[in-house]
């Protein structure tokens, strides 16, 4: 795994960034976090439509899980209210837990699917949850792209 990261970083710095595609938010269901599943034309030659749509749909499901309003979130909210919300200083909220899951998923997707095709997904939390940024690299190297993941962007999502 370490070598895979190492290889991806080499790829990033030997490949040149050709373009960036931004997948915008889908607001048809209100203000919840959802991304459009429309396949961008720039990616047509790089990745299969079904893989891309799977990724976006899985991300949408994760976000829906984070923002789900149900028993657990009410419990969390009421408990927080009784402690004058001080509990947020000590406890990790459910949303943050899901965000961690999301970043692991994106890393895994980058390693397995996107980096071999010269693409890189940026975690939406690093872009203010506005877009999913997909960087398209033109591989200048002769040997094929190696897998790896994006350990690049910074965030702590708090």
């Amino acid at each position: 795994m370490a070598t895979e990261f190492h290889n991806l970083q080499e790829l990033r710095h030997s490949a040149s960034l050709a373009n960036k595609v931004f997948i915008q938010r889908d607001y048809t269901e209100g203000t919840i976090c959802r991304f459009q599943t429309k396949f961008p034309s720039e990616l047509e030659s790089r990745i299969e439509r079904s893989l891309f749509e799977d990724t976006v749909k899985t991300l949408n499901n994760y976000y829906a899980e984070a923002e789900k309003i149900g028993g657990q979130s009410y419990l969390e909210g009421c408990l927080a209210c009784t402690t004058a919300y001080l509990i947020f200083l000590c406890m990790e909220t459910r949303y943050e837990k899901v965000l961690k899951k999301i970043s692991r998923y994106i890393q895994e997707q980058n390693e397995k699917i996107y980096a071999p095709r010269g693409l890189l997904i940026t975690d939406p939390i690093d872009r203010g949850m506005r877009v999913i940024e997909i960087s398209i690299y033109e591989d200048r190297g002769s040997s094929g792209s190696s897998s790896g993941s994006s350990s690049t962007t910074s965030s702590s999502g708090r």
């Binding site: 931004f22 203000t31 009410y74 009421c78 949303y95 702590s156 708090r158």
Partner: protein, 368 residues
């Protein structure tokens, strides 16, 4: 916490590049200043008009308004209450009074501090590539050609939410299309999600992330002012009954007079505000939307209703007050990525990230 994950990855990822800095003697002069330059945290270069304390942990609007006054009035009035009224009331009534008062004061102060010092839901500004992409999308559909000389008319995008047409406006400062219910606060110069209003008393915007704290603050403050008002009135009444009249009672306990005046004027406004916000919470509206009359049926037709409401008072309250707490999007304490490096091919041999963050430009290409 997410930083910790990346810290685990990087040391594994960069064992090999670190020994290789030696073969390139020319750039060292370049990386040296960067190596010794302290890495900046993102809050230090934050473009909005905010102030940060405790190394980015605390955020407040630059114009803190009358926040110190608010805190001062609350603490002083409560202090006077505990010092001058409580002893009498404990003797004559019950010792539960300072306890209740104490709990209320603690609640009020904590929720006030949380409202003021929490990120209200600020949207970070668009990266240059994002902004360019949006511009491209706007200019493409054959809009007005001469856009260089004057500012083009406000750009809007229409979307449909719950069978209702909602217009998204383009924010020229942040260079994004504002999500629904987001508004740009001119005092803080930020787009804030679910923007309610900018409260000068609290010294911060009230938005998605701190609305529940704000609501908790005004509700507990109304209880506190009503409680103090009632106790002080009782105190003066008891004193004037057992003594020689109201005027003498006031002379005996002048602090009570001050508290009475403060509470009398506050209780109406705070109670009114609490009532208003309870109405907003129950209908899942924001002050901004209510004032602008966004959903109040301009044409009088049934179609213009609030598309965000769950059509149940209980559910609206639960969603607004007990919904999941969204994370802060501005990542105040993250480190600024070193994107200043010109392009990826230049082999600037910087040391491996002493912090977790961006390892761009640190790895030499090895014949890939």
């Amino acid at each position: 916490m997410k930083n910790c994950e990346y810290q685990q990855i990087d040391p594994q990822a960069l064992p090999t590049p670190t020994p290789t800095p030696t073969p390139t003697p020319t750039p060292p002069s370049q990386p040296c200043p960067e190596k010794t330059k302290k890495q900046q945290r993102k809050w230090e270069i934050f473009p909005g008009k905010n102030r940060f304390y405790c190394d980015g942990r605390i955020i407040i609007a630059r114009q803190s308004g009358v926040f110190p006054l608010t805190l001062g009035i609350i603490l002083i009035t409560s202090g006077l209450f505990f010092i001058f009224d409580c002893p009498f009331l404990v003797k004559h009534l019950t010792s539960g009074i300072p306890v209740i008062g104490g709990v209320l004061v603690v609640f009020v102060v904590i929720s006030l501090l949380q409202t003021s010092f929490t990120d209200p839901g600020i949207l970070p500004r668009a990266t240059p590539e994002e902004a360019a992409d949006i511009e491209k999308q706007i200019d493409n559909p054959g809009s007005s050609s001469s856009s260089s000389s004057y500012r083009p008319p406000p750009r809007t995008k229409e979307i449909v939410i719950n069978q209702q047409v909602v217009k998204l406006k383009y924010c020229f400062t942040c260079k994004i299309f504002r999500p629904p219910r987001t508004s740009h606060c001119s005092l803080c110069d930020n787009c804030v999600e679910r923007f309610d209003h900018h409260c000068p008393w609290v010294g911060n915007c009230v938005g998605k992330r701190n609305y529940r704290f704000f609501y908790c603050f005004i509700v507990s403050l109304s209880f506190l002012t009503a409680f103090i008002f009632g106790c002080v009135t009782t105190h003066l009444a008891l004193r004037s009954q057992s003594g020689t009249g109201l005027v003498d009672a006031l002379q005996d306990s002048p602090a009570s007079a001050i508290e009475l005046v403060v509470c009398f004027f506050s209780v109406w406004s705070i109670l009114g505000l609490s009532g208003f916000h309870t109405y907003l919470v129950a209908s899942n509206l924001t002050t901004n939307e209510d004032i602008k009359g966004s959903w109040s049926g301009k044409s009088g037709s049934e179609d213009t209703g609030n598309p965000y409401s769950h059509n149940s008072i209980f559910k609206n309250c639960c969603v607004v007050l007990c919904g999941p707490m969204p994370p802060s999007l501005i990542d105040r304490r993250g480190y600024v990525p070193e994107d200043s490096l010109p392009n990826a091919t230049v082999e600037i041999q910087l040391p491996a990230a002493k912090n977790d963050v961006n390892v761009v430009g640190k790895v030499p290409s090895q014949g890939l």
